[in-house]
């Protein structure tokens, strides 16, 4: 759709600091009145050169902790994919028990990440009470993560050839207690998110990504699954203990019978995945094999193996937002990695953003953008540029957020359809 003659067309750059995001990115929105007709993405505001550090400064063991710091929320799946790539390149096989512990921690991360997202999404539509509710509920899993790993955020659980801490039988009851708590409130959460009028109004048929577009634009994770692409690394590829557990990718038709690919469907997928994660952790606790958790506890010995190893490997893990892939190449005699390439899920999911924003309204930008759960950060301001006069006016984060909140209010009062 193009702007008709005589109609003023505006470009609204949203970002680099944006309300729906945890990290900076810039969106240039071409708008005709309220309608978005053109979207461009400008990235790189927080490119930290992590791969360069891994290739030039750090040894492969130091890189585990660097990989954890790629993202604050997915700080399990990055080292997970990284160590799997190293293990493939060097031929190290982790003990079976370690594989189960890795999965338990990864699923705990998924629960906390999805709940965090659910809170952010409620905030984006101006539903503050749900935002507070969900984040209070999320504290339980954060406490559990701290109990099991010793930390709330960077868990430092992973090591090449195993994990650094065991989960013992004495810890099981405490873990089960938290999982039971989530099971007991799950129906409540479901009612709040799926039956509430406000959320339905703002999420149904908004930000639609069709199945074909999701496939062409390489969408991954809940974004792809909500569009009906049953793609989940935990289901598709045998990695870690997931290979034993017969995971099934969650698509929204399990609940509703149809697939639309809108924001509402993305809520369904994430909500059901929380339940799935609880079940996975319970199964892991039941089936966890005994034995060692680390194959080589002496780091100097491990480093020597890594220094003399030659080979390449690719590690893929399902992060809360989709597939994470790490590629590493080791050369004999080289202390650092020869090549390290990281691909986080948002890298590919961002390519869907122009498609799902086009035809929408400016007030829908926060929730639609947030619906792919982009792993980047929050809008202070957006600059509105008039293309004809080149005049700039500044929209603050509060104003953009206010637009979204007002839309919710108008919808609930029946003022607009």
């Amino acid at each position: 759709m193009t702007a008709s003659e005589g109609v003023e067309r505006y470009t609204i750059p949203v970002g680099p600091i944006h309300p729906a995001l945890k990290e900076p990115i810039r969106l240039d929105l071409g708008v005709d009145g309220e309608e978005i007709i053109d979207v461009d993405i400008i990235m790189g505001q927080v490119h930290r050169g992590i791969e360069w550090l891994g290739m030039n400064r750090n040894n492969p063991i130091q890189n585990i902790y660097l990989a954890e710091r790629v993202c604050g929320i997915c700080n399990i799946c990055h080292p997970f994919a990284y160590i799997m790539a190293i293990e493939q390149a060097t031929g190290i096989t982790p003990p079976e028990r370690a594989e189960y512990i890795r999965v338990i921690i990864a699923e705990m991360e998924r629960i906390h990440s999805h709940l965090l997202w659910a809170g952010v999404a409620a905030h984006e539509v101006g539903f503050e009470s749900v935002f507070y509710l969900v984040w209070r509920v999320r504290e339980k899993i954060m406490d559990l993560i701290e109990y099991v790993t010793g930390n709330r955020v960077t868990k430092a659980m992973f090591q090449i050839g195993g994990v650094r801490r065991d989960i013992t039988e004495e810890q099981f009851p405490r873990i089960r207690k938290t999982l039971d708590y989530y099971k007991s409130i799950f129906d409540q959460l479901k009612t709040v998110f799926l039956d509430d009028r406000t959320i339905r109004m703002r999420a149904k048929n908004v930000g639609v990504l069709k199945r074909e577009d999701a496939l062409k634009l390489l969408a991954v994770g809940p974004t792809a699954r909500a569009s009906g692409v049953a793609k989940d690394v935990r289901q598709d590829q045998a990695y870690s203990a997931y290979a034993d557990l017969d995971i099934k990718a969650i698509t929204p038709d399990i609940l509703t019978g149809t697939i639309i690919g809108d924001v509402y469907d993305r809520i369904i997928v994430r909500l059901l995945e929380v339940k799935q994660s609880i079940e996975i952790i319970e199964r892991c606790l039941d089936e966890m094999p005994p034995g060692a958790t680390l194959i080589e506890p002496k780091l100097a010995k491990l480093l020597k193996t890594l220094k003399t190893a030659e080979g390449e490997g690719v590690g893929r893990a399902e992060a809360p937002r989709g597939e994470v892939i790490h590629y590493v190449r080791l050369e004999t005699g080289r202390e650092t990695l020869a090549t390290w390439k990281i691909r986080a899920p948002t890298y590919v999911n961002l390519m869907s953003i122009p498609t799902i924003l086009k035809g929408g309204q400016i007030a829908d930008v926060p929730i639609v953008f947030a619906s792919i759960d982009p792993c980047m950060s929050c809008t202070n301001r957006a600059v509105v540029v008039d293309r004809k006069t080149n005049k700039k006016s500044i929209m603050t984060y509060e104003e953009l957020h206010q637009l979204s909140v007002e839309k919710t209010r108008k919808l609930s009062n029946g003022l607009v359809k």
Partner: protein, 177 residues
Amino acid sequence: MEILSPEEIVESFKAALGAGFVNAKIYEREVAVKKNLFKAIWIYVKRDAFRQAVEHICKLQEYPHLAIISSSDQENSVALIYHFTIYYGHHLQELSLGLCVSLPKDDLKIPTITDLIPGAIFTERETQEMMGVEVVGIPDNRRLFLPEDFPEGVYPWRKDETGPEDMLRVLPGRQKK
């Protein structure tokens, strides 16, 4: 859709590419308790047969997933690996397929595949700016991550004289190369 075994896939590449096919590696590893197999294939092709190879992957799987292009500086050449995944959506059937192509340093050019896989655009743009590989026919030639004022002819992932060595701060404890 018919699901081929890794060996059959390698054979199908040999048949489709002819002289353009260089080599192939199959990697399999047992994981966890039930010993299911993690499978990956590496296919090495000549640059002339690269487009043909991607077209062949599109025949194996409608909409193959291109995860990323990784690139390694290997003194006289740059090795590109296109990390595909095929057969997704089927329980434990997915295969990681690395399509490897080596480019000589004096002729760093590779045709675009965005016409076959539109989502390849970001990773092609990144390979261009970070490794200095020219993607011929790319529909969007802008930089992806590097800022606009980043100097021309400096490629952060290179290990030769075009690398970013001059731009680094020499911090205590770090030897200048």
